[in-house]
Amino acid sequence: MSTNIPVSGAAQSHEMYSLRVNGLVHEVEDAWIGESLLYVLRERLGLPGAKGACEQGECGSCTVIVDSKAVCSCLVMAADAVDTEILTVEGLGPDGALTDVQSAFLSEGGVQCGFCTPGFIVAVHHLLENNPQPSDDEIRESLSGNICRCTGYGRILEAVRTVADQRRQNS
């Protein structure tokens, strides 16, 4: 094997690599190769915003942005996420301030138990970034990978419409 093919860790079972999360480089040491990005964010990097529930990509509560794409962090092998830009719910607002999406979830009542909320917040940010004025069908489709067992979704959809309206009026 040539020596110039990039590898994510030393050739041993305890992986060392670095991840760029919310603009900061984090060193990951002594990790297992099978760890998901979700696990590494929560248990090694102290970023518990992304939530773990199904761990099979069905619930969307672990949604993060990797290289401008919304993905389930439970299905990303963390050691394969080197050299990517990772954005989590913690990195959306400056210095921990609420974003307009988070404020709208509060004002419209889109939060009940709150477990699914970080995944929804990331998915909504991603939607409005790529489609600032989505139709109702587009909102529903873009959130079809996020499951909420409390709200019945109506107030979440309302929060998305509220932010889209606010951003249009402010632009």
Partner: protein
């Protein structure tokens, strides 16, 4: 052992030959579920995510074919040029998981896993796709019918990988339909792709989730081509569509499992076949 991250096809060939026992990782949407929930212990992994050539697609107009790289995600097939050229593939792509899954999952990953429920696979079977693979002995082309050989089994040899898939661009109608317990985030209970070449008067239908492999209903296809005209401008009698559905269902080989029963699947696949054929005339 580490994750090896080749940046181009030459590096991938080299690193796979040096580590033939390594597991290839595409979008991770199947493999990481195995790791998270089913005790799979990864050792050496080769990541395909950054192999540039695998993420490309191109059209050769003189040969009327499209070639789609193994690393192209479903999200890129849902809309745009690929969707315009191969509408059935776009329809199948839109039924895969959720936006998060479609951003990660790839055509090559579907072929690597080779599940009978793989949503792109009936489309590849109905269109008669050619799978381009690269291995230690160079390149070879495998027809889809010879590629998938069993439940989650393909005919790739050690250290071979899927480079791309070549599909003919067909004049006429093509569509994909799927039955599951809901619209989003569902593995198919039964699925089918129908391609009707209205220039040649030819039809092909391929069935998913109703047998150990994707099944082409060759007998039903032949019967239909003898029983009615499929050329542009012709009409379809409802009784023909119904009989086509019945014959397609006869060629399925479904089983009872945790997702459904053989009886329901046999019924559903007949309905899907009838519905797709009827749509092709509307």
């Amino acid at each position: 052992m580490p994750v090896l991250i080749p940046r181009n096809v030459d590096e991938l060939v080299e690193v796979f030959q040096a580590n033939p026992q390594a597991k290839l990782l595409a979008g991770g949407t199947d493999y990481m579920v195995e790791v998270n929930l089913h005790g799979r212990k990864p050792e050496t992994m080769i990541s395909l995510r950054r192999v540039k050539e695998l993420t490309e697609w191109s059209v050769r107009t003189n040969q009327s074919r499209i070639t789609i790289g193994a690393g192209v995600p479903y999200a890129d097939m849902e809309h745009g040029e690929i969707a315009r050229l191969v509408p059935a593939l776009a329809q199948a792509a839109r039924t895969v998981g959720s936006p998060q899954i479609r951003a990660a999952g790839t055509l090559g990953g579907n072929l690597g896993t080779c599940s009978p429920a793989g949503d792109s696979l009936p489309v590849l079977a109905a269109l008669g796709a050619t799978i381009h693979v690269i291995g230690p002995d160079g390149n070879r082309d495998i027809e889809f019918a010879d590629f998938m050989v069993g439940v989650k089994k393909n005919s790739l040899q050690p250290a071979e990988f899927v480079h791309s898939v070549s599909l003919p661009l067909v004049e006429g109608w093509q569509g994909y339909a799927k039955v599951g317990t809901r619209n989003a985030m569902v593995i198919s209970t039964a699925s089918a792709c129908l391609v009707r070449d209205s220039d040649e008067g030819f039809v092909a239908i391929a069935l998913g989730s109703v047998g150990p492999t994707i099944i082409r209903a060759h007998a039903a296809e032949s019967w239909l081509m003898k029983s009615t005209s499929l050329r542009a401008g012709s009409q379809l009698a409802p009784s023909i569509a119904q009989e086509f559905g019945r014959r397609v269902a006869q060629e399925s080989r479904p089983i009872d499992d945790h997702r459904s029963t053989a009886d329901y699947r046999r019924h559903a696949i007949g309905v899907l076949a009838q519905r797709l054929l009827t749509r092709s005339f509307s």
